[in-house]
Every structure is written in structure tokens, then in C-alpha cells.
Subunit: 111 residues, 2 copies
DNA sequence: CTTTGCAATCGTTAATCGACGATAAACATA
DNA sequence: TATGTTTATCGTCGATTAACGATTGCAAAG
């Protein structure tokens, strides 16, 4: 009950926050960069690139998937992760939209 | 020790993550939008616009300030908050840089 | 059909977050 | 000086996160 009040904000605000939160950990940023640069793809390779255990990497991948930024395809015994292009574009759109909002300096008195 | 391993990532990854984390809550997104649109400025006004208590809003403002996205000027008994343009530009740069990284579809086999 | 190898999930722990009310601090005004 | 207004900080509590090792689940190889 009402200890977390996320519900009380607009859907747009929640969507931005969801994506930003997924980007809010250096391990996940590093994973996304590895995937975007196609340096690796398979979960096991990511584990060797990162200073984290297999289970922790798997957990981060799950969060990135939940945020729609990454998708994973099973390929035999291994899993190939890639950037989810739709989610990636959406993220770019939302982030650019938010950060573009600033009008030219000081039409107002106070700042 | 070493329960949180943020230290083990690059400075760039940590900087992006820090900013993204600040954007990772709908209340903070809402605050930034209010400030960017100059609809309000003073902390007390923000409180009335948001479904949160004064202390909670103050806490969120503190986090946004720590991420360099917002700055506050004392104006008598009240405090005027505004977007920190330098931090805002930096955020735009970093986010755009990260999200621009994706190369054209599938040069690789797996995805 | 068993073994092997990879990835996901479970269970646990410590740390951090999100929220609040209460209190304190800073300042203007009576 | 006392009072009211505004914001920051403190203390607390429950929820969530980050991390790990251990276990489970599954597909390919033998």
C-alpha cells in the first residue's frame, strides 16, 4: 500500500523512468555497449568480459530484456543476446525528447 | 566489501549510469519536466504539483542535484531550482552517444 | 541414455532506495 | 525577540537491488 508511489505518475514518465533505470547501472551500460558493438553476443562471452559472476550477468540481462532494450535467442545450448532495435529506438526517442525540452536561457526572472 | 562492484567499470560507464539512475524514477522525471517547462521553480510549488510529501520531494531534488542535472539558488526563505544547463547538455551528449552506437542491421550472423 | 556445458533460477545476504513524519535550520516579518 | 514560513535533514520502516554460490533445466555429444 502506497509505499511506492510510481503508479501516481503518467505513463510517459513511467516509461522513461523504466528505461533510464535499466541504464542506471554501469554493468548494464557495459553490456549494452558490448552488444551494440557486436563484440560479443553469447552470454558466456559477456561473463568473461565483465567482472561479474555468471548469475549476476544473467540477472542484468533479464532486466535489460524487461526494459525492452535487449532480446535473446536460444541457439542450441547457448543464448545469443542482441540489441532490441525497436526498444532501442524507443529509448532514443524518449531520452532525446526529454533532454530536448529545455528552452533558451532565462526568459524567467529566477534562473 | 565488494558487494557492490560499481568501481570495476570505466568512468564513462559510471557517469552514464549515474545520470540514468537519476532519471530512473517517475517523480524525478516529472520534476525535471516541470523545471524544464518553467512551470514552477520553487520547491514548495513542486510539492503541490506532485503526489509526494515535502521531504520526499526534497530528497529527489537532492539526488538530481547530485547527478548535476539541477541546481538550486537560495532566495530568501525559499529555494529556486532550475535545470543545470551544463549537466543537462552533458546528459544529452552521453545518452545520445550511447544510443547512437547501434550499427546497421545484422552484419553478423547471429542476430 | 548418460554425461557435459551453458544459462536461468533459487535462496541468501547486505546495501540502497522510497517514502514518511518529526525535527531543525534559515530567514522574513511582526 | 518572537513567530511564521519554507526547506533540509534525521530516523525509521518496508521494499527493492546487487551480488554470489548452488541448484536446476536443457540441448548436444558421446
Amino acid at each position: 500500500m502506497a509505499l511506492h508511489k510510481r503508479e501516481q505518475f503518467t505513463a510517459a514518465e513511467q516509461e522513461i523512468a523504466l528505461i533510464a533505470k535499466a541504464l542506471g547501472h554501469p554493468a548494464r551500460v557495459a553490456i549494452l555497449q558490448l552488444l551494440a558493438r557486436r563484440q560479443s553476443c553469447v552470454c558466456g562471452e559477456l561473463v568473461t568480459e565483465l567482472p561479474l559472476s555468471q548469475s549476476t550477468v544473467s540477472q542484468h540481462l533479464k532486466e535489460l530484456k524487461a526494459a525492452g532494450l535487449v532480446q535473446g535467442e536460444v541457439d542450441g545450448p547457448r543464448v545469443c543476446y542482441c540489441i532490441d532495435r525497436a526498444g532501442w529506438d524507443r529509448a532514443r526517442l524518449l531520452m532525446a525528447g526529454l533532454l530536448a525540452e529545455l528552452p533558451p536561457p532565462a526568459a524567467n526572472g529566477c534562473c
